[in-house]
């Protein structure tokens, strides 16, 4: 593909709001995970919760969109002058020439979970202040951002479980290449809810403590919440320091919730990403792995990475910083990849102490400074949906 510039970025996660706070956390190894119980959840697990979301309300003309997921998107938009940058892009290109491709897995379903508990005991009806279209529907994130940012180009939500906001880069890149738009707001928002906390519990995948990706004693995931967005456009004189160089997608064709044991689908996505970027495996300096800290998921990804990259580049998972932010993991780790390139930083793998001796290659436990020209970032989801992105300095 022809490289596209990440000309503006914003992010909000449990390690902090904005690029500076995120960079500080990456450098210091800070984690946003805590054992504090979320909502009415009584499970023994840690989460990457953003407590401030409890006190935010979307108001005025956007009040119907008020739900945890859209509040989280709003917090991210408010960072690093992102909403203003989108406004400038709209002025530059025209409202219909800016598209919006964003990812989420569960959208505002927490709103519906709470509405179900408040059903009318006599009729079974949901409360009258429940707004399905603006909160629960998977498309609500795109509808909110479209209204909030004044975007009139094609706008939709990618919902491919934990690969959602990584895959959004591919859809947006194709829309730009096809001439359907000149720029796209790409990213995603995924917030804590009972569906995912109890759902992953049913699969025995929630860690009792903080997640420890690739650790010999790893025992599951820590679910987090986050939102992030980038403005993706053709490189120009206004250029930023990081480009999307390539992307690769595949399906495992194996199982709905277990990865292919040798990571065959993951490897295919990484190979396609390198081919799309027109570079070889040896040109990657750091791999931001999906690394959620499940027993089998980490084994499959370790093998897939080793089979393609050998001992080569530094690798690790930043899930111990933010938790696994599910549909937002792709955008959060895209922004972490961009920060790594921009600031010469190889991120670490917080909470992990002893890499599983069965694993291969150079795992980065603590962050260190060093030149990073190209990063490969992995996001894999339920349904065997795989996406790898390649970012690089121009």
């Amino acid at each position: 593909m022809r490289p596209l510039a990440l000309s503006h970025m914003c992010v909000a996660s449990s390690v902090g709001f904005g690029l500076d706070a995120t960079l500080t956390a990456l450098r210091s190894g800070q984690s946003g995970l805590s054992p504090r119980p979320f909502e009415t959840v009584t499970l023994p697990t840690w989460t990457g919760e953003i407590q401030a979301l409890d006190n935010i309300r979307l108001q005025g003309e956007h009040a119907a969109f008020d739900c945890r997921n859209n509040r989280l998107a709003e917090v991210a938009l408010g960072q690093d002058g992102f909403a203003e940058a989108v406004r400038a892009a709209i002025e530059r290109y025209g409202t219909a020439r800016v598209a919006l491709v964003v990812g989420t897995s569960t959208s505002g379903i927490l709103q519906t979970e709470q509405a179900f508990r408040a059903r009318d005991p006599a009729t079974g009806e949901l409360p009258s202040d429940f707004h399905y279209e603006q909160t629960h529907n998977t498309g609500s994130l795109a509808a909110y951002l479209r209204a909030r940012l004044g975007i009139e180009g094609p706008a939709f939500v990618i919902s491919c479980a934990c690969a959602s906001s990584a895959k959004a880069f591919g859809n947006a890149a194709r829309m730009i290449a096809a001439g359907l738009c000149d720029a796209a707001v790409v990213g995603g928002s995924d917030s804590l809810c009972l569906t995912t906390l109890y759902g992953f519990h049913s699969l025995a995948l929630n860690a009792p403590g903080p997640c420890r990706p690739f650790d010999v004693a790893r025992d599951g995931i820590s679910i987090g919440e986050a939102a992030g967005f980038v403005l993706l456009e053709r490189p120009s004189s206004r250029d930023a320091n990081v480009h999307l160089l390539g992307f690769g997608e595949s399906n495992d064709a194996h199982h709905m919730s277990s990865p292919h044991p040798e990571g065959a689908g993951a490897r295919l996505a990484m190979e396609r990403a390198l081919s799309s970027a027109g570079i070889g495996a040896e040109q990657i300096d750091y791999i931001n792995m999906h690394g959620t800290a499940t027993r089998v998921g980490d084994i499959a990804e370790d093998l897939a990475v080793f089979n393609l990259f050998g001992d080569g580049p530094a690798r690790g998972s930043t899930k111990g910083h933010t938790g696994h932010t599910l549909g937002a993991a792709g955008i959060v780790e895209a922004i972490i990849s961009a920060l790594a390139i921009e600031h010469g930083l190889v991120p670490g793998t917080p909470h992990t102490e002893t890499i599983d001796p069965a694993f291969h290659g150079r795992y980065q436990l603590a962050a260190e400074t060093g030149r990073v020209d190209r990063v490969l970032s992995n996001s894999f989801g339920f349904g065997g949906s795989n996406c790898s992105l390649v970012f690089g300095a121009p």
Partner: protein
């Protein structure tokens, strides 16, 4: 400014819904030559799925996969090398509603199978298992504009990646109480096999652009009701134009922001 245009070619279509038992069987109804008579419709099991997955595949998954396979058969293509786009407003409505009901009980014992089936990309995952295809798939949503958003995305992928892409749009009714806040008729699914170039199997050329224009309606009042009450059925005017084998322009709904205008030229 020159409006952006994308050109793709249609090789095959699939259709399923109340009174719509397949593309070939529905041609008369779509052309207005036969009366539309809604009749209850239950998507059959997917023979391609291994036994465990076949047992776990609910109505939404069977509906989406069956209709996609029908379109590929119409096009005379194998599924193994096909890129897929699945689009739906509300995904597996029954599974999501079941989880919500369970989460409102004291014990909150979510079924692991229902949980992994509840993701919006469940049909894409089952599709890959059924067909053995490792090719990319996208699963997307734009509320009532899900069909046109999916069509634009599939067309962009066909043209940019220079490969055939199959679009599957599907939507199903919710049980109560969600049915009251989001009434969806159906189940309905539509599928199209799109290619970036003309082939010997091409039925029509589509020239698409994003647009906000009042939607083309269906002449038959029953089909028009279906169009208005099922997001996947918002694509019916395009299938009717393909069935009619006459040239024409179709406007797809832009209610949720992503509409499209399509020039349809039969081969």
């Amino acid at each position: 400014m020159i409006p952006p245009l994308i050109q793709v070619f249609v090789e095959g279509a699939g259709l399923a819904g109340p009174g719509l038992r397949g593309w070939a069987e529905s041609l008369g109804v779509l052309r207005g030559e036969a009366a539309y008579e809604p009749a209850p419709f239950e998507p059959p099991p997917i023979a391609l799925l291994p036994p465990a997955e076949r047992r776990r595949a609910g109505t939404a998954i069977r509906l989406a996969i069956g209709t996609g396979l029908e379109a590929l058969t119409e096009a005379g293509r194998e599924p193994t090398s096909m890129a897929m786009v699945f689009t739906s407003s509300s995904g597996d409505t029954a599974t999501v509603a079941d989880i919500l009901a369970v989460l409102a009980t004291d014990r909150r014992e979510v079924s692991p199978t229902r949980f992994h089936n509840s993701v919006h990309n469940a049909p894409a995952g089952y599709w890959a298992v059924a067909t053995g295809s490792c090719e990319p798939s996208t699963s997307l949503c734009a509320f009532d504009s899900s069909f046109s958003a999916g069509l634009l995305d599939a067309a962009a992928q066909a043209v940019v990646d220079e490969r055939p892409v199959t679009l599957v749009a599907y939507d199903l009714p919710y049980p109560e109480p969600l049915n009251k806040v989001r009434p969806i008729a159906g189940p309905v699914a539509l599928a199209l096999v799109l290619t970036p170039w003309s082939t010997e199997r091409t039925r029509a050329r589509l020239t698409l652009r994003p647009a906000s224009h009042a939607a083309t309606t269906m002449a038959d009042s029953g089909l028009e009701r279906l169009r208005l009450t099922n997001p996947a059925a918002r694509g019916l005017p395009l299938l009717a134009a393909l069935a009619a084998e006459r040239g024409g322009t179709v406007h797809l709904d832009s209610a949720a922001g992503t509409g499209a205008t399509i020039l349809v030229e039969p081969r």
